[in-house]
């Protein structure tokens, strides 16, 4: 077993010896990763450690310098733009700042990917799908609001709803609880678990928030200097003597001591 492997079981996402640099800065330096069907993996790491770059490579937004990234059996950087678009319809990406289209209402934000990916849907079916995902995230009343009228937590939920409307098989969450108060963070954590259970998704959750990792992930992995330093279940990782894992734990759960 390679040092950086999270798991070697059959997977929906498989990354092998992934390397990515920006100029002379090495961001990812030989990452190996496997995500099983239905598994939630939280990736922890310092700011600038390459966590977001990892999920951007998985979704095909960035190209790797070396290594292979296989998602649902397809090598992301080797497939044609048409195949990549089809693959992306099975991947939900929740951005750190939600990335809602600020010139569109919530309804238009949610309809945007649906209209372009499922062209045979009637207006009634589109309306029904929008109402369904808004109910899933608990925000049916926001349907005609503009993103600027929403709170941070609401924006996160609508961002997740926009990804759910295509019924993804994989969810990628970039800092889902960043900048949110503890109560809203807790609601987002519950939503992530609900999505996993209801949509049978496999997910990668990029976070600094150990509460989020503990409550949403089946496994956690710590990314340090472009490699996974430690991976396994929450207890395996944070009950170890590893200094970086201890620092993360003590900073997040200082009151537990």
């Amino acid at each position: 077993m390679k040092n950086n492997d999270v798991t070697e079981k059959k997977s929906v996402i498989s990354i092998n010896n992934l390397k990515k640099s920006f100029g002379s800065l090495k961001v990812l330096d030989g990452v190996n990763l496997n995500i099983k069907l239905g598994e939630n993996l939280a990736v922890l790491g310092k700011s600038g450690s390459g966590k977001s770059v990892l999920i951007k490579i998985i979704s095909g937004l960035l190209k790797p310098d070396e290594g292979t990234v296989t998602v649902l059996g397809l090598e992301v950087d080797k497939i044609s733009p048409v195949e990549l678009r089809a693959l992306r319809s099975k991947i939900g990406f929740s951005f750190q700042n939600s990335a809602l289209y600020d010139s569109m209402t919530v309804r238009e934000n949610l309809a945007f990917p649906l209209i372009r990916n499922k062209t045979n849907l009637s207006k009634t079916e589109i309306q029904h799908a929008i109402e369904e995902v808004l109910n899933e995230v608990g925000l049916p009343q926001t349907i005609d609001q503009m993103p600027s009228e929403l709170s941070g937590g609401q924006r996160k939920r609508i961002g997740i709803a926009r990804t759910l409307i295509l019924k993804p098989e994989i969810m990628l969450y970039d800092e889902p609880t960043a900048g949110l108060d503890p109560i809203t963070s807790s609601e987002i954590n519950s939503l992530i678990k609900k999505v996993q259970a209801q949509y049978k998704t496999s997910s990668i959750i990029i976070t600094h928030d150990l509460t989020c990792a503990k409550n949403t992930a089946d496994n956690v992995a710590i990314l340090v200097q472009g490699k996974f330093l430690k991976s396994g279940s929450f207890d395996e990782v944070f009950k170890s003597e590893n200094e970086i894992a201890r620092t993360f734990y003590e900073y997040n759960f200082i009151n537990d001591k």
Binding site: L61, F93, Q96, N97, A99, L100, P113, R116
Partner: protein, 265 residues
Amino acid sequence: MKAETDNNGKKYLFSKSLDTVFLAVNNVFKFIGLIFKEAFTAPFEWKEIINQCFNVGFKSLPLVSLTGFIIGIVFTKQSRPSLSTFGASSWLPSLISIAIIRALAPLVTALIAAGKVGSNIGAELGSMKVTEQIDAMEVSATNPFKYLVVTRVMATTFMMPVLVLYSGLVGMLGSFMNIHQNEQTSFAAFIKNAFSTISFLDINSSIFKAVCYGFTIGVAGCYQGYYAENGTQGVGKAANTAVVVAMFLIFIEEMIIVQFVNSIR
């Protein structure tokens, strides 16, 4: 010429700055090539094209009306003393119509549109880029280039000739009002006199110029916005560069087209 090498050992074909310019020109041509490819490939974003035409055309009408009208009046007032010296103030409508249709309406409208529409497109797309909205479109399996870039370039290209013709008519109206006030010329006499010197070539060349200017404004705005980086500072830079580049290219195009049209006149 000796090839340059930087501190990281990277070699350049000519020099760092010259290579950067060539690379930028190459990227712009690739960008334009992609616009043509996507513009003729289904599915088409008709609703967004119409929406953008409304934004570019209808929302520019007040500014274009005001400037067109003022230019008509001012140019008439400035030209009258010179023509009067030779007892040729009756030639005012002809002079004004040639000046407005051939040169002033296309150029002034394009410069106004470069400022208003170009900066708007640069800032809008730049803002979408730095807030990851363009990435969000891409990962939701849609084509942001077709939705954001192609629609805007098509809108500026289609609407600029309309704005130029409209600006010309408003300019002529301003001119007529001034001439009518001073020379008591009737509307029928003004129109007859004005259009006696205007040929189809003048109108067609104006429309051709407008198409080129519209395309330039759209491409400059979209290119700068679509590739904006470095946060809010990048958005400001994108908007600013879009205007500067568009205006610069409009003057170059004006010079080339005038030479070409004069050679076939």
